[in-house]
Symmetry: C2
Subunit: 478 residues, 2 copies
Amino acid sequence: MDRAALIADLSARFGPRAVITDRALIAPWLSDWRGRYHGAADAILAPATAREAAAMVAAAHAAGVALVPQGGNTSMVGGATPPEDGSALIISTRRMTSVRHIAADHAVAEAGVVLQTFHEAAAARGLRFPLTLGAKGSATLGGLASTNAGGTQVLRFGTMRSLVLGVEAVLPDGSMIDTIAPLRKDTRGYDLRHLLVGAEGTLGLITALSLRLIPAIGARTVAWAGVAGPADALALLRRMEAGGGEAIESFEIIPGDSLALVLAHVPGARSPLAGTHPWHVLIEAVSADAGDPPQAMVERLLSEALAAGLIADAAIAKSEAEAEAFWHLRDSLSAAERAAGPAVQHDIAVPVEAMPAFMVDAARAAEARFPGTHATAFGHLGDGNVHFHVRAAPGADAAAFHAGQAAEITRFVHDAVIAAGGTISAEHGIGQMKLAELARVEAPARLKALIAIKRAIDPLGLMNPGKLVPLAPGDIGP
Amino acid sequence: MDRAALIADLSARFGPRAVITDRALIAPWLSDWRGRYHGAADAILAPATAREAAAMVAAAHAAGVALVPQGGNTSMVGGATPPEDGSALIISTRRMTSVRHIAADHAVAEAGVVLQTFHEAAAARGLRFPLTLGAKGSATLGGLASTNAGGTQVLRFGTMRSLVLGVEAVLPDGSMIDTIAPLRKDTRGYDLRHLLVGAEGTLGLITALSLRLIPAIGARTVAWAGVAGPADALALLRRMEAGGGEAIESFEIIPGDSLALVLAHVPGARSPLAGTHPWHVLIEAVSADAGDPPQAMVERLLSEALAAGLIADAAIAKSEAEAEAFWHLRDSLSAAERAAGPAVQHDIAVPVEAMPAFMVDAARAAEARFPGTHATAFGHLGDGNVHFHVRAAPGADAAAFHAGQAAEITRFVHDAVIAAGGTISAEHGIGQMKLAELARVEAPARLKALIAIKRAIDPLGLMNPGKLVPLAPGDIGP
């Protein structure tokens, strides 16, 4: 059966809502949200249930037609964009949006549930799903799990992987894996759950998840401090962890010049501190008890840090509105950086202890190697994960920069990351964007293992072809 | 090269400490510690370094000789016992016992480090590795990771899997995977770390681990309460989590009649409560601050629970010695149960919310189906993991019971577990013991995936043959 016959067959079986062929309706889903990757697809399959999804995948498998799983289409690496040659169909989780069940410690939700909707469903029960990120209004649970997403609240509860208690998925041949029951302990063989999490849809389609929920935040204290550099920032984090235990939920680092860009870029934005500082940190501590915010603890720890010379100044948000304003400064960093000129961005991680030196040394080395550029690193210091941006020399043409120097800069940054024992993808995934770089920097034994696993679970290469696994052309595929 | 030639070759290359062929020295490592499984092996390979281990595995691979990884040999499922036919050699991590590095938030340690030694190394730095279990004096980090071990402190920090930040391992062909750098975020392809954790040595040999460390406990409060049943116990846990947040580290449930066995079995043991109760719970709460134990919080929450009728009585340990005495009662359960007569034990998990009903209903059903038996469940209620024991009718012959009724009882219990969405292995693994049961109860799609992964990474079937993956005889293998 060819692709057209498959579409006709699925249309007849599942109806027009489940098989979208209107080009105008398909078009918005053929490119990534930043407009960097463009593909083609004759249809979007939109199963209403996991069972329908399994039937569709089985039919595509029988027909030898590739499928590209898609959630909110918020990938940072072109992970949900179909191939350009139109050989694949999109399979979207948009109609699988039910929160099936909420219990005291977990919820079972379908892959197409949008993160913000899930936050609200948990909050309505006095509970919380602790992972959050900028795209929460569009990103879906299935996509977040498939990329093992991170965000700003990873310090305490981990990435998506550590919040997934169970998975329901359709494998490439259309068979279903039902390990959706939320088990806290499970040692019956290789952990397929952890193989599907972070697989970017290349081993199957996640249709539902059991996700950990925790008690809602009772009260939070948000603080801002000026520090001399990343090493002092990390020493401050260690002090706060030792004194505040698990109460510290976020610890973000922001360069002084990036803050200046934000203050210039965001109307009405004000710095939390009176003076200027080379670096800043944003700290959030929480408590379960609404009547007992961790403010006294944060104040005490910051006072001690001030006395010890670890920080130069600090401010604690006096209201929830001010806390939001602090966070808005942090959340505006990427946009402000973008507005400042063309830049090449890197989502990288190194061991936490190695991060302070890396931030300073790698930025200095990149600027020396590429004269006129400005390198800056900001973000999740406590996770060992920063967004490392290298901005083109002032006045550079964006198109020329991206077509020319950007790739060379990326290889330079990635080499530094590998030398520091790090990863070229911390929380965005590999997708299409980092495929060549993964093949370039990864150890042969690991690459061989990735390919072996892909071949084992998807021998026909039908699930999200051209993503995550650096296969030689024609290695496997429809 | 045959097995004898391989041994001679490795002896010549690595010397007598690295290749043990003295039968008297090998003998203790040919059976599991409970004496249920017995194997044969002509040599124990004991590499001193990961590099030596890789060379040995490569040589065995070239010779087509199977290897059985062994740590402390404390498997509960025969996971480290070589095959009876003597076709495999043991490869032991006993000489890889270096704690390479301890930092504020993690340590890098070799696979052969014994858990208790690792606890002590962390404690000497004011830090803590939060996982603990009965075999801590023998069990090694490599074995604990390979079985994704649990224990009594999983509630807050998770099983071994969630504590592993990095892995160094030798794959079946002798190639090395070095992802030992402790990365908090990493999305570069399928997570081989999570594939090796829990793989029971069937995909390779873990040689070193990066493991999460946390600040040492400042102070703890240990409490004991009498409850009417598992449902009230779980309601108590939820209340304590809501009121005490992450402070609650352990929550163990103990049937009243099992406690009675312990009191009769352990010289000098005393019940923490004056009266008798149908069920008991042991609770541990911790704080980071040595000067500020969570006692007031625990007292308040238990008082509220008493007022609400959730518990019948409670006691808080008045000293560290009394806290230890409370824990000793819990830790003596298995021995006391064993002393009471032959029993068949099951390490099972179901979703936490389903556990109270399961504990009561499955025990009642087992006793009805097998008249004269006594079924009891105890342990990690907060993890949804209990040890489910079915004791033979009084006066039963142990050998006859294990040879006869035990297998039927196990199938009955496992069927109930599967019906409740659970797993037949919560924290002990599959090994040899549960291989047939895994094949019997597991969904075909999952079994197929397990086998495909084994074939992909170990196509010759040389790593820990006959464990974890239910392969047909002769399916793959040397």
